[in-house]
C-alpha cells in the first residue's frame, strides 16, 4: 500500500482524544467506586448506631435511690390503712 494512502489513516489527534476520554471515564468510574465504598461504610455506621440504640432501650433500667425510705401504702396489713383502724 502506498504511503500516501496510509497517511489518510494517520490521525494522532483522534488517538489522543480517545485516550483522554478513556482517562476521564476511568476517573469517573474510580470516583463512583469511592462513592460506593463511602456509602457502604456510612450505611454500616448508621445501622450499627440504630442497633446499639435499640439494644439499650430494650434492657430494664436498674437504679438506686440513696437515703430515701420507700413506703408501700397499698398493703392491706398496713397500720396506716383507714379500714383496718376501724375494725380494731
Amino acid at each position: 500500500m502506498s504511503s500516501g494512502r496510509i497517511a489518510q489513516h494517520r490521525n494522532y489527534a483522534d488517538v489522543m482524544a480517545r485516550h483522554e476520554r478513556d482517562i476521564r471515564l476511568k476517573r469517573v468510574f474510580r470516583a463512583f467506586v469511592y462513592f460506593l465504598i463511602i456509602a457502604f461504610l456510612l450505611i454500616l455506621f448508621f445501622f450499627f448506631k440504630r442497633w446499639e440504640a435499640r439494644e439499650s432501650a430494650g434492657k430494664p433500667v436498674a437504679y438506686t435511690r440513696i437515703g430515701e425510705t420507700i413506703k408501700n401504702t397499698d398493703s392491706p396489713n398496713s397500720l396506716d390503712h383507714p379500714h383496718e383502724q376501724h375494725r380494731g
Binding site: 500500500m1 494517520r10 488517538v15
Partner: protein, 188 residues
C-alpha cells in the same frame, strides 16, 4: 537498530509518560510499519485503520507498564498489534488471513542466488498460501519486517530458539519445493 537510537526512544518514552502528546513522535515514526503489518494480516483497509488506532491507544494506555527488555520499542508495538489482530479474529471466529504482496515475494527471491522467472513467483505465491499460519508469521516478521529472532520471539511470545526453529522449518520447505536458498539469519 543502534543502542543510541534505542536510548533516544527510551528518552521519548520517559517524556511521554508525563505528557502523552510526546508519544506522537513515536506514532509518526512507526505508524506506516504497524499499518502494513496489520494490513497483511487483515487485507481490509478500514479494519486495519481501526486495529492500528487501537494498537497505539493500548500502547499509550500501558506506557507506565513498559519496561526495556533488550528489544526496541517497536517490538512492543508489534506485539500489541499482533495481540489486537488475534483478539479480532477470536471475536469474529474466523481464520487469520495473510496477504503477501507480490512485490515482497520478489524482494525475497532477489535475496537468493537462484534464477527465477514469473512462473516460480506465481508458484511460490500459491505455495505460501498453503503454509501454516505460525510459519507465515515468522517469515513475515523475519523477511518482510526485518526483525531479528529475539524480536520475533518477543512479538509472538515464543522462545528465541522456537522462533529460529519455525523459520528454519519454513525455509527448509521452500528449499525442498523450489530449490531456493534463502538466507536463514542473514549470515548464511
Amino acid at each position: 537498530m543502534s543502542e543510541a537510537e534505542i536510548q533516544q526512544e527510551y528518552t521519548i518514552l520517559e517524556r511521554a509518560r508525563k505528557n502523552p502528546k510526546v508519544f506522537g513522535e513515536l506514532y509518526e515514526k512507526y505508524f506506516d510499519r504497524i499499518f502494513n503489518y496489520v494490513f497483511r494480516q487483515t487485507d481490509d483497509e478500514d479494519l486495519t485503520s481501526d486495529l492500528c488506532s487501537q494498537t497505539f491507544l493500548s500502547a499509550l494506555k500501558n506506557l507506565d507498564r513498559y519496561e526495556f527488555r533488550g528489544v526496541p520499542f517497536s517490538a512492543w508495538l508489534y506485539k500489541i498489534a499482533s495481540n489486537e489482530i488475534n483478539k479480532h479474529y477470536r471475536k469474529q471466529k474466523r481464520d487469520k488471513v495473510f496477504s503477501i504482496e507480490e512485490l515482497r515475494v520478489r524482494e525475497l527471491i532477489e535475496q537468493t542466488d537462484t534464477d527465477w522467472d514469473e512462473e516460480i513467483i506465481q508458484r511460490l505465491l500459491n505455495y505460501l498460501k498453503e503454509l501454516p499460519t505460525d510459519m507465515l508469521e515468522v517469515l513475515e516478521l523475519r523477511f518482510f519486517e526485518d526483525k531479528d529472532f529475539r524480536e520475533i520471539a518477543f512479538i509472538l511470545d515464543i522462545t528465541e530458539s522456537g522462533a529460529k526453529m519455525r523459520t528454519y522449518r519454513a525455509l527448509d520447505r521452500l528449499r525442498k519445493n523450489f530449490n531456493l536458498r534463502i538466507k536463514y539469519d542473514g549470515k548464511e
